[in-house]
Amino acid sequence: MSDATGASGPTEPTGTDEGGGADGRRVRVVLVDDHRMFRTGVQAEIGRTDVTGVEVVGEAADVDQAVTVITTTRPEVVLLDVHLPGGGGVEVLRRCAPLMSDAENPVRFLALSVSDAAEDVIGVIRGGARGYVTKTITGTDLVDSIFRVQEGDAVFSPRLAGFVLDAFASTDAPPVDEDLDRLTQREREVLRLIARGYAYKEIAKQLFISVKTVESHVSAVLRKLQLSNRHELTRWATARRLV
């Protein structure tokens, strides 16, 4: 996230570990952002297809355009800005819902926003985005996140993990359907480590589990966040005067 790692980025092999790209993996990406400068910047950062493995197949500046471009190009990952003219990223997610659930060739969304306010983050995650990163992210990390999302995993920033922990914090009141709403002890542990700034790999080492297990825990959290019942989320939102 820092500029320091950003500066050291080009010297490292791009997309190490889970990142991919150099090993021949390819991912087709659509950029949705209303600022042309930003799209150009992201394009320059991740668009060198032969190095990063990311191919930008389309761009859009508002909700209508985004839906059209996504439907026609059928990318694997959409980098979605949260604040967009015409209803915001949540509206794009709503209208592209059928594409997300497509079993053959699902479109996955990674929210990319300058805002890390809780309402924005939770809004798009509940809308179906598979991850949320802020615009201060470095190119390397972004490429890494894109591949992770493409594989169906969730990308959590420490901050997002903090929000989720916060949302599920009140364990004393028993929710109606427990297995759906409660985070398991392990998931909570994983989230806590993410919030403390650990990478998935480091979490795996720390907890003596495999990276795949960490990823599946995170995916489970994401699923629970999307499905968690009104009870808890309403209370959470009310406590923060979001509704």
């Binding site: 820092s2 320091a4 916060d166 914090a169 919030a195 700034g197 650990y198 080492k205």
Partner: protein, 429 residues
């Protein structure tokens, strides 16, 4: 007398402008306002008015004159009243504003008293028969005018307090009643003057004139109102823009200038940019009223953590990412923990900063508060630190133990150091 005394006072002390009192008034708030202005008890002023009223109605005339010319405001009698009932605050533009008000209980009493006084007055004044007949219509007109004028005051007050909507029907009813009263009074006078036979024709004629005037002036008035509201909207927008521009000018442009001057020093540029980003973010996304009073001491854990992180970040130019889960008020132990955490942040920024952002995580879980500060620097071994270096040993570990908490330092698998601080909250809450 009050009328003669008021203007000089205004001249001598321009700051104390005479206002009619908006709250606790009985009729127009003149007596209250005057009392506040002159520093007299309200009841005296009222008695003086009543007394003057008996002197050929001079009091009534004076009252009407004050009502007409003196703007409605908050009278200076607030100090004498219990502040719980009505509070007044001064708006940024210097206008005084009403926050809450007492229901106008006195109004009914005042009206009854007025009627009684008027009756006595009418009974006492000796007029010949033909003049006497005019008294009732005149009183009717006066009552109608009073009603409508008070209405105007209320509308003005409603604008300040933004409660106008739900009283709309009442407003209309009152205006209608006032108009009816005035109409009846005027008609009465007319009937007395001429003969009742002509009344119908004259009413028709005046109605025609009224309709004509409405037709001519109506569209113009509507257009004017629309223009007015549009203009107001534009002004609000312009103000908003000016405020944004002022903020951007003060902070962003200033920072950009500094960045230009320090362009060769990457760490300085980064520090400035991050400080600016945090500032703007706080300004843009935080709800109104928070983060404005920067100098106040934080009183919750989340605030304290963020504040410390921001300060260390500014000072050392190393980005610090803060995640806080839950929140609780600060107590003595937590304050000690915050100091330890701050020390840990400073260490992380100093020795581990080149590895990237320092990550701070704070969590309140039940009675336990956990803080983790981690960097991705080279890491260090506590045992290899000389005994005379007290930073970690005293400021972090020692401080935590003295206050009943624990501190752990450990190497992180991926490189770097993590400081974990755990503290039980004081069990008073």
């Amino acid at each position: 007398m009050p009328e003669a005394a008021a203007p000089p006072i205004d001249d001598v002390r321009p700051l104390r402008k005479l206002y009619r009192s908006g709250d606790g008034r009985w009729l127009g708030g003149v007596a209250r306002g005057l009392a506040g202005h002159l520093g007299l008890p309200v009841i005296w002023v009222r008695l003086i008015f009543v007394g003057l009223f008996t002197a050929d109605g001079l009091g009534g005339l004076l009252y009407a004159a004050f009502w007409f010319f003196v703007p409605l405001g908050v009278g200076g009698v607030d100090a004498q009243r219990p502040p719980a009932a009505v509070t007044a605050e001064t708006a940024p533009d210097g206008r005084r504003r009403l926050v809450a008000r007492k229901p106008d209980k006195g109004q009914l009493v005042a009206l009854l008293a007025m009627v009684v006084v008027a009756m006595v007055f009418v009974g006492n004044v000796d007029l010949d028969g033909s003049t006497k007949a005019y008294v009732v219509p005149t009183l009717l007109v006066a009552a109608g005018v009073a009603l409508v004028w008070r209405q105007a005051d209320n509308a003005r007050r409603a604008r300040w307090m933004a409660v106008g909507r739900r009283r709309r029907t009442l407003t209309i009813a009152r205006s209608a009643a006032g108009v009816l009263l005035v109409g009846a009074g005027v008609s009465g006078i007319f009937v007395l003057q001429g003969s009742a036979a002509h009344l119908g024709a004259v009413l028709q004629a005046s109605l025609a004139v009224l309709v004509g005037v409405a037709l001519l002036a109506g569209p113009y008035l509507v257009r004017m109102m629309q223009d007015l509201s549009e203009e107001r909207l534009m002004r609000i927008r312009a103000q908003e823009r000016a405020e944004v521009a002022a903020h951007v000018h003060d902070s962003v442009l200033h920072t950009l200038t500094l960045i230009q001057r320090n362009a060769e020093s990457a760490s300085e540029v980064r520090r400035l940019a991050r400080a600016q980003e945090r500032d703007l973010r706080a300004w843009l996304y935080k709800p109104e009223g928070t983060g404005k009073d920067e100098d106040e001491e934080p009183d919750t854990l989340a605030e304290a953590v963020r504040r410390s992180a921001a300060e260390v970040e500014d000072k050392h130019g190393v980005p610090i990412e803060v995640v806080v889960v839950g929140d609780c008020p600060l107590d003595e132990r937590l304050t000690a923990q915050m100091q330890a955490a701050r020390e840990a942040m400073v260490n992380a920024a100093k020795y581990g900063g080149e590895g990237g952002a320092v990550q701070v995580f704070a969590e309140v879980e039940g009675e336990t508060v956990f803080v983790s500060v981690r960097d991705r620097g080279p890491g260090f071994d506590l045992d290899s630190v000389p005994d005379d270096r007290m930073g970690v040993r005293e400021s972090i570990i020692g401080r935590m133990q003295r206050n009943g908490g624990t501190a752990r330092l450990r190497a992180v698998p991926g490189g770097g150091t993590e400081v974990e601080l755990e503290m039980e909250r004081t069990a008073t809450t």
